[in-house]
Subunit: 320 residues, 2 copies
């Protein structure tokens, strides 16, 4: 079986995703091509040609799109030819190494599950964002905007995937490894330090995470920005509010946004980068770069493998 997400294959761009689609996607594709990054644009061929995507840009025709107003699951089932689904299918078949989309996050996750399938041990894929915290490579926030109301078990999964991502690109750890490096510190986004604080989902997640190696307890927004945790676990709604508030305040204060290159979806076997709906060409170009880097590093498969092996050993006392 071909492993999806190979580093040599082009990056598929969902050309119908962003609010201004397909113009930013076509411009990003041309910019990528100019610096030698192979890309495939997936969307309505006529619209793409009209927006200036001549050869040598590779175009795969996908006549439908999922809009922000659609209910994602229903729209995807109804439209096997929706651009985000066709793009995910290219990745599943090894014709693309990664996927970038600025469309609805729900539709991206739905397309990934339909075309790439589920990873054992992953209840819900989740969006991981890197928060620009001084003195760090970016604190990992997960779920930064994937599935609202995912529940306690899913949040435990987010913690595991975040740890696997934070543990770095040292390759899969063999089961008998005894020196896996420092254990990432995992915090639970909350409104106070005490275990009983927060809403039902967060209180439940605290109980479920209490014995996880590396769990440091609740973290408030100030703690997150102080870098006390390597991984911050949140439900998608609260995580997205945190992320968007940090971004909005950074913009208001004139702070450097550290180059927003989209957020990596975790819990699928191939790199999928989720960009803002408002993304312009430069942001999408950076997202393609992030997707290509992720494909080269094999991070998505590594996270999936770790979570899957973890799922098999839960309760066995194995340290990781």
């Amino acid at each position: 079986m071909t492993e999806p997400g190979s580093a040599e294959a082009p990056v598929a761009i969902d050309a119908m995703g962003s609010d201004g689609a397909p113009a930013p996607e076509v411009a990003a594709a041309l910019a990528c091509r100019a610096r030698g990054q192979a890309v495939t644009l997936v969307g309505e061929r006529e619209a793409l040609t009209g927006a200036g995507a001549p050869p040598p840009i590779d175009v795969v025709d996908a006549p439908h799109r999922v809009s922000m107003a659609d209910e994602p699951a229903m729209a995807l089932r109804r439209s096997p030819q929706a651009s985000v689904r066709v793009a995910a299918r290219l990745v599943a078949h090894g014709r693309a190494g990664a996927l970038v989309s600025a469309g609805s996050t729900g539709a991206i996750i739905g397309a990934a599950l339909l075309e790439l399938g589920r990873v054992p041990g992953v209840r819900r894929p989740a969006v991981s964002a890197r928060l620009p915290v001084p003195g760090t490579d970016g604190v990992i926030l997960i779920d930064a905007g994937g599935t609202p109301d995912a529940g306690v078990a899913a949040m435990v999964g987010f913690a595991r995937m975040g740890v696997a991502l934070a543990a770095g690109d040292d390759g899969p750890v063999p089961p008998d490894a005894r020196s896996p490096g420092p254990v990432p510190r995992v915090g639970l986004l909350n409104v106070g330090a005490e275990p009983g604080r927060g809403n039902r989902a967060v209180r439940g997640a605290h109980v479920a995470l209490a014995h996880m190696e590396g769990f440091i307890g609740n973290v408030e927004p100030a703690d997150v920005l102080a870098g006390v945790a390597d991984v911050v676990v949140a439900d998608a709604f609260t995580g997205n509010v945190l992320l968007k508030t940090i971004e909005a305040m950074a913009t208001a204060a004139g702070l450097d946004r550290h180059g927003d290159a989209g957020a990596l979806l975790l819990g699928v076997r191939a790199p999928i980068v989720v960009a803002h709906g408002s993304a312009e060409a430069a942001t999408l170009e950076a997202a393609v770069g992030a997707a290509a880097d992720a494909a080269a590093s094999g991070v998505s498969a590594r996270v999936a493998d770790r979570v899957a092996s973890r799922a098999q050993t839960v309760g066995s006392g194995t340290p990781r």
Copy 2:
């Protein structure tokens, strides 16, 4: 019947509330007294005297405290002499005009309901904060940290209370008034503009608020900071994360915090100001000032009256 919250009565300070209690509370009381603001300290008499509260500071003995680790409802029922409950009782009996506490918000709300009683039409009292948005007097965020998982009906109540607060201190509007001034713009904190976005509670609140006068739909954090709404409605958990992230980013960026004077609890008949657990003397002194101002303006009773009259006329087509 005495209306609670009279302007002439002293402000009751829960002296056992803050993380450093009672030292900051005692220092704040002395500072208030020095500028002619009458206050009553409520807490364990010996501890207060030890912390430097001699006459002429009025002290009411309350031997128990509710800590952040306690489950508030149970602790309050078990301790009629808990400081926050005794302080709320002083307000209920007209011996204090307002209450300031830096204790657990859940305990403050519980004490208010036990001692001051429920307001007709108010499902849950809520914390209203003023977000420092340039060009405004502060955008009202409600609920900024009161009751997590309050539900859709409570969120509709938050919107009504926020509108009553934003409508200004022009006194109660008589039922036949036809020119009540501009209608406050009410936004629902969310992660996208479309009505179907967000978690279950927020999607439900959107449906319930859709026909409310002044409702402008979903607002994202950047919209909130751009001042597009006068009132931002949120569940307590998300609202508190928004508030704390704005505060943490403002601190990190060296921005003016606009003098944090605590947040006014709405949906009770007397002014109750909730301060941070980490509050120091200067913050508590400012909170006492805010509480005294609220008592003088009669805002708490005005909001309660408007929500109560609104509850009687729901569905009757009355414009306010």
